[in-house]
């Protein structure tokens, strides 16, 4: 199925969990937060959150800024 990840189209397996996606992207150990369709998904729910086709996922981090 297709999702949009940080603005780019991406193909992932049906019923992928958010925790699977995090693992695929090798984000472990980094500080980040995730929104699915403009709603925050807390880290504690990554393992139970199954992605759906056309989900818009934003993975965000802190960057330098004033």
């Amino acid at each position: 199925m297709n999702i949009t990840l940080n603005g780019e189209p991406k193909e992932i397996a049906e019923s992928t969990r958010l925790s699977d996606l995090v693992e695929t992207l090798a984000l472990a150990g980094q500080r980040f937060a995730i929104e699915v369709n403009a709603e925050l998904v807390p880290r504690s729910r990554f393992a139970e959150h199954r992605l759906a086709p056309n989900d818009r996922i934003e993975i965000i981090q802190a960057v330098g800024g004033g």
Binding site: L5, N6, G7, L25, A26, L27, Q30, R31, F32, A33, E35, A38, L40, P42, R43, E58, I59, I60, Q61, A62, V63, G64, G65, G66
Partner: protein, 265 residues
């Protein structure tokens, strides 16, 4: 000044005490090394960060700002820079809270216009209300308008941060009398945020009685950012001490400093 007096003059933000009244941004530096060196030289204990899409392997090995400025050493102040409506500002704060393990302190800025980066005051008030209800400690970027500052305080913002001049302009304090009025009215800390260009601007803000100054470009865009960071630290301290000392009244005509009595000619 005795060490005791210095220690008792601390900035309190959301119940936490700070020795430094200089808050700095972390944008526009050449690299992470320069960021870290400049911030160390500034003596700042509160540093702002922005919230953006994460690096998904485009730049492997690139250090994260929070590796350079660890949250156990610095108070991280996530901002909502780049937000032009209340909804995205609120979303950004919620993401920042999750990112920083439940950290409640945020810098709210809702911009109105790309050319001036002046705040959209109506959207700022709306976002502030939502964020305060949601349990955030909101430090809010606003215009140098005493009425708006009063409203933001009434909503429950924990610090009001009027601009000195447009963000990144380095024009200095364009309306010192408004800043003074905001300071006189406020019961929460007032920090000048944006528009400072050089050390004397920072000292002026402190002499007006501001509780602190938040700056980024004035340091990052100096020819030597680390030296400017050190200058700003001293200017903030000097301006604060001058404010606490109480300046002499300005007079139109001279007043001799040496005694008239005892002249021998």
């Amino acid at each position: 000044m005795s060490t005791d007096t210095q220690n008792s003059d601390r900035l309190i933000i959301a119940g936490k005490e700070y020795g430094s009244r200089l808050l700095v941004g972390t944008g526009k530096y050449k690299d992470m090394d320069e960021t870290a060196s400049a911030i160390a030289a500034s003596g700042a204990e509160i540093v702002t960060v922005a919230v953006r899409r994460t690096n998904l392997g485009q730049n492997p090995g690139e250090p994260n700002i929070l590796d350079v400025l660890p949250p156990d050493r610095y108070t991280i102040l996530p901002n909502t820079a780049g937000c032009y409506d209340a909804e995205t500002a609120v979303r950004t704060c919620r993401l920042a809270r999750e990112l920083l393990d439940g950290h409640k302190l945020v810098k709210l800025e809702v911009l109105g216009d790309e050319k001036t980066l002046f705040p959209d005051v109506i959207a700022t008030l709306k976002a502030a209300e939502i964020l305060v209800k949601d349990g955030f400690d909101v430090m809010v970027y606003t215009n140098d308008d005493p009425i708006v500052a009063r409203e933001l305080e009434a909503i429950g913002c924990i610090a009001v941060m009027p601009l000195a001049a447009p963000i990144g302009s380095g024009l200095g304090i364009r309306n010192p009398l408004n800043i003074l009025t905001i300071v006189e009215n406020a019961k929460v800390p007032v920090l000048v945020d944006a528009g400072v260009g050089t050390a004397s601007d920072a000292a002026e803000a402190m002499e007006l009685g501001c509780d602190g100054v938040l700056m980024n470009t004035a340091i990052a865009a100096a020819r030597d950012p680390v030296l400017m960071a050190s200058a700003m630290r001293k200017a903030i301290e000097a301006g604060r001490e001058a404010f606490r000392a109480g300046r002499m009244p300005a007079k139109r005509f001279a007043s001799a400093s040496s005694p008239i009595e005892g002249l021998f000619f």
